[in-house]
Symmetry: C2
Subunit: 413 residues, 2 copies
């Protein structure tokens, strides 16, 4: 079966809410091996919603709609579907009963407006609510089908996995899974990366259907390589992904630092744990961001001692023992890393000092920083960084770069 | 003019990335008073991209496309637009020159693959890049137009406001603005808030067109009240928003802590600066998140001394002077706040200690924490918090709650 997604709501078009529902639906469909080739957003306008449904049903076997099932005047998804089906709405006693029980269980009077949430196009099947007030609907249109789900993300996701995906799998008949795996890289450009793997990509293309496909994605965290396979079952798909990951790692080597949700902090944490080492951080312009990212890594409580956010220069001098004088320097970064390593009794430390902006500092333009890495028994080294953009961007880049430099040093030991 | 948005990329359909670009475009179009009635997502498939453009151009005067301008094989937006225009691609010398300068300024060799980013449909105009490598394109199709923008959000947003919106405003001729303002509240439920402002809402409804509209949005950061007005010019719109903000503030009082992008940290920073006070933080389970949020507040360098991330309990004992013993206690939180205030020489301090999960600590379930606030010359007080959810959610709630408690204490002085 081929499926399209229609997210309904003027607030989505106006950008007042980011439509995350379509992404969740796309992900679940992919996992179930169901093709989704088109997704759209439309506002709370009856005529345009009807047109959007009709258009989608010309191209696809099923449409999953989300939003517009609420109790207010601009919730018109039910009316639009009834129009597409060519039927009228009828108040459903089961839906009405559920609504009444929802409100009485909360000892709240049901508003008159909620009654319309029990209206159902004749011929449609209810998907009962388990969280909120709007039931979902399965609405046959000839040999095709519209699923209507609430716009509240948790309610939508629950009905999607409970009712919609199983119904689509029954309709599709052929079981298939699509699985993806993302290799995360650092320190290599997208273009260079695609050059390196081009021969492998050609081999995959030549191998024809069933072979993994590959996509590149440039992000603030580095370039990601996403491998995707379609197979008849999970085991086959996983085996193919595994083989392909090994082939790509053989080509790219150390620039691959992790897979899927593994962050650079996770990679650094693993290197530290191999040696039984602990980490401390001293942060000026990154302002706690490195620490906040490190504590998200699994096992952080084993290897992370903590840190000092030395935002005011007095804290650098008095707490970390940085010599009085300019603080946006390699020397200050080195003194901060050494100072925090000693203060917190850690084996390894990383530090940042610099000007995040909007103004410069000590004659340096905003976006200038120094990052130092200290390892017990080895010389502490600092590197200058330059980056343009907002304060937040400068900080995020600094936090990422600090971990990259630490990873490089740990790998080179 | 009527505009549609087309986000291009298989990763969007698969839900591997949430399409935030369309929301940003929708928001900017709304601000400029330009109608956007439909937005769609399509994968990296030439035939389907071409069909999506053709369909959109049947309904709308302009299409803003984002994504698919990169250097890899799956970046095919340029080809698709050339097909829609019925022209071929030609390598543009200006675009090529920009690309070469981009790489030489970074002392990096340009990969062969990047050359295709200088390919332009004959008849299209370049939107020069100022950040990355992919230029944007303005592509006339008869009396209609396609704008092609990069998928990288910061590059997209920059070109949108610099080149696309002004071009659309020239094409549209009739000036109108839609402006919004969001009042941020804390410590009040959505239902209670809507009860309080119900009379005001009725008055606005009765006032008819031109009056501001109001929407409520429950978020992790508290309930937000969004006011929106449409007017013929900025000055009129701003005056109406201003009047309405005052009316709502008069009803809600102190629960309103900020407007638009003002965070709770900004509000706390303003209260501290009124008194010329400085702030220090001691963080255990929030792991640097409070500090990272505080340094984003304007003027942080004036009022923020810094902090200690005391993740390991040894750091609590040795650096902050917490008495040895259990650390997930009100007493430990108080000792941490007092300790960091003394260590960093600040007037005010806040601390967090607790179990973020996935496991509990010292017999407390995950999501249990203690938050203390210390103010020079006053008793330091602690509060227990309980929240369910992921480690990140527990941390984010703790960071928010710490600032809420500090704001309450500062307001009550």
């Amino acid at each position: 079966v081929r499926v399209e997604v229609l997210a309904i709501g003027t607030e989505l078009l106006l950008g007042q809410i980011v439509d995350t529902n379509s992404a969740v639906i796309g992900e679940e469909l992919a996992k179930a091996g169901i093709d989704c080739t088109f997704q759209a957003k439309v506002g709370d306008n009856l005529e345009r919603i009807v047109r959007a449904f009709e258009l989608a049903l010309e191209r696809a076997d099923a449409v999953i709609a989300c939003g517009g099932l609420g109790p207010t005047q601009d919730d018109i998804t039910r009316e639009a579907i009834a129009a597409v089906m060519g039927v009228r709405l009828e108040r459903d006693p089961v839906a009405l009963d559920q609504l009444e029980r929802f409100f009485s269980s909360r000892r709240t009077a049901m508003a008159e407006a909620n009654l319309q949430q029990a209206d159902v196009p004749v011929g449609a099947t209810l998907i009962p609510q388990v969280q909120g007030t709007a039931p979902g609907l399965i609405c046959p249109v000839g040999d095709r089908v519209i699923y209507a789900l609430p716009g509240v993300p948790s309610e939508m996701a629950e009905m999607l996995t409970r009712a919609v995906i199983p119904d689509l799998q029954v309709r599709s008949g052929e079981p298939a899974v699509i699985l993806s795996r993302t290799l995360r890289t650092v320190g290599i450009s997208e273009a260079r990366l695609s050059e390196l793997v081009a021969p492998r990509l050609e081999a995959l293309d030549a191998a024809g259907p069933g072979a993994p496909t590959m996509a590149f994605l440039a992000t603030a965290d580095g370039v990601k390589v996403r491998l995707t396979v379609k197979a008849s079952d999970d085991a086959t798909a996983i085996a193919r992904l595994q083989g392909e990951e090994e082939a790509i790692r053989a080509i790219l080597g150390e620039v691959v630092y992790g897979v899927d949700d593994e962050t650079i902090e996770t990679a650094v944490g693993a290197l530290l744990q191999e040696r039984g080492w602990t980490l401390a951080v001293a942060e000026s312009f990154t302002g706690g961001l490195i620490a906040a990212r490190v504590v998200e890594a699994p096992g952080a409580s084993i290897f992370f001692r903590g840190g000092v956010v030395a935002y005011d220069e007095a804290v650098k001098f008095e707490v970390l023992g940085v010599p009085r004088g300019p603080v946006v320097t390699a020397e200050a970064a080195i003194a901060m890393a050494d100072g925090v390593r000693a203060l917190l009794g850690a084996d390894v430390a990383v530090s940042t000092t610099g000007a995040a902006g909007p103004t410069g500092q000590e004659g340096h333009p905003p976006g200038t920083g120094f990052i130092a890495t200290a390892i017990a028994g080895r010389a502490t080294v600092a590197e200058e960084m330059r980056v343009s953009g907002s304060r937040l961007r400068v900080r995020e880049y600094g936090a990422l770069r600090a971990m990259q430099l630490l990873r490089q040093r740990l790998l080179a030991l």
